[in-house]
Symmetry: C2
Subunit: 438 residues, 2 copies
Amino acid sequence: MTEALHVGIAGLGTVGASVVRIIADRKEMLERECGRPITITAVSARDRNRDRGIALSGMRWFDDASALAVSDEIDVFVELIGGEDGVALDSVTKALKAGHHVVTANKALLARHGFDLAKIAEDRGVLLNYEAAVAGGIPVIKPMRESLSANTISRIYGILNGTCNYILTRMEDEGISFEECLADAQRLGFAEADPTFDIGGHDTAHKLSILTSIAFGTRIAPDDVYLEGIANITQADISAARELGYRIKLLGVAQRTESGIEQRVHPTMVPFSSVIAQVAGVLNAVAVETDILGELLFSGPGAGGNATASAVIGDIADIAKSRPGFQHGPVFGTPAKDLKPYKRARMKSHEGGYFIRLTVYDRTGVFAAIARRMADNNISLESIVQHSTSADDQNDNKTVILVTHETTESAVRKAVEGITSDGHLVDKPQVIRIERAG
Amino acid sequence: MTEALHVGIAGLGTVGASVVRIIADRKEMLERECGRPITITAVSARDRNRDRGIALSGMRWFDDASALAVSDEIDVFVELIGGEDGVALDSVTKALKAGHHVVTANKALLARHGFDLAKIAEDRGVLLNYEAAVAGGIPVIKPMRESLSANTISRIYGILNGTCNYILTRMEDEGISFEECLADAQRLGFAEADPTFDIGGHDTAHKLSILTSIAFGTRIAPDDVYLEGIANITQADISAARELGYRIKLLGVAQRTESGIEQRVHPTMVPFSSVIAQVAGVLNAVAVETDILGELLFSGPGAGGNATASAVIGDIADIAKSRPGFQHGPVFGTPAKDLKPYKRARMKSHEGGYFIRLTVYDRTGVFAAIARRMADNNISLESIVQHSTSADDQNDNKTVILVTHETTESAVRKAVEGITSDGHLVDKPQVIRIERAG
């Protein structure tokens, strides 16, 4: 028998406990697949005495994750602590420098320090695997790093946050407001007590920035992401979208343009008949558009202890199958030393279709004024619908829904500013970008 | 610089020519990713003088693929000849025995001889990669072999034949008959002159049998597949499906049951709101259901020179990243020596919902007779709809559509036989299985 792969796990929360349990339960299966046993040699967590419902006997306990990280009893350090700095950063850095492979599910850590960590890993010739950091249990990182070698990626987009997708799906299915839905999601444990990180799009931005680096061979730039969350989405938007053949999703999109690479996270109208439009509830999906292949889509569970553990164990198994002397592929697909600085495209130059919903005073000339502002900015319209909602009727207002052909962000902003300054608007205008999707 | 990976390619049709062109065009990119150059050293094809629009200078020409296969000028033998026996089998066998890695896109070869070839590859410690053999450009084999180590798969299902999906999509979109659609697909080059292999489901069965082996750790059994093609699907089925909230797809499904493993290929009703229902035209999709993850779905282009070449080059790049001494994962996920014989589940024991469309004489008591036959076989009905199509009206017939709750194949067959023997049917009954889909 070949020698076992010795694994140290830091962090025994939901995911860590699942990893320990599944590796114990599937010992034989994993050994058969990997050609050698996977043994958890040591663990580290904050509270040694907490009952996690898992057997830790035979594993050495470390109070200090960084001490575990450099222990010569392990081959692989699995970081499930979380947080972009602090213990997570310290322990992962030390593990790599000590020549240990690292598996992590920590998207914040990678978004912030992935470039530096990749350099250390590649210098030391060890693997840094992080399938679980983006889209949870869905194999996305590995196919992008390893299966698309022949392809130049032009665009990547995805539903990367289960909480947002859960809220938008329920709003559509049940006709309830964002606030009501969020409260319910919090009650059911699908949303955090402070939901800003999810619903504001920050979590999606972290994950997107990692995908961007793999897709375009650029350094990770988690702060250079155009960001709009879902808190402003209303039932009026959802029902107008449906009437027009669209569904609203919070997408992260990265796209190569002439002026640089766009990274944007915002509520997006996708065609109702597209595959991604059917990705419902807490599920995630990632679509990759390449010159050779056209479009690929991966969908599945994006979170949860078991789904995340599945990705972590897949990463560990990959290491178990490798052997000393094996030349590993680069952490982000391109060697870290060759990753180019990220060049941000200006959001104002973004090109695409737009959905614009305006609540206007019901008076003569409003329609004509709106149409003029559009024409003045060279925006051609795919459709313009004027109708009254029940709220409109009560208040003697009208709703105008515009769908533009491909135009620019800058033209749309100018047109909407013009319409606002004309004084016909009862309410803040709503602008939602439309995304092509297969 | 590390030494180049030397590749020999046998077969220079559409896919082979794409592989040669793309490797030449993306030399630097591939070298950066793989850490060493990929060089095509030698090629083989039937006709040396044919103009393929690609540069073959610097590559040694072999008239005999099997001579290329054993040449000590190559590290990897790429088989793009096709056919389940003959030159393809001979050359791949010889290449593996000579200690060369093999990449192939040949599903028929693998379905028939994959088990034996895997044994040779694993004995010799070389890789046998075949991402392109199933679902063309979509990374499916690699994620299943390498990313799902922790998972036990319970079911796998997919749209594995682009021709069938193209025909069913156009039938639905345009309201045209199967025959008309097939003729048009042949004219446009989306269907072969002899389309039996595609529309009869044989191609899907080959691909399914490979997926079954990876999913369930069993030997490939391409002949033990329950098979129904799409030639009997009519507009009446498609429109009835739509009214009931379903769409018809030709699926390959493999599923673990108490009595064995089901392998079946048949027209299938999938919920309209499922992700796979939106996979349209020539696209393919594969869904994998596991105990830990729930359901994953991969969709994308399943055929075409470039998409297939993308998968072939991904397989070559994987080999380029490996090094002598590297212990490769098993060809079918489980080591060939541990693959269990396939135990076929009886189709009569299949459990699921059924759609049954009957054209009956418009006379008293028919409805009651049908309902009685269902009840006698313990089949409970989700819905029963009686209506007249325009053809019915002309002929004084009626259409009865039944949708059953979960029942067995055997009960449905008995009930339909009973109804047929009652003498109320004008026409052959139509039975279409319903599949759960996420």
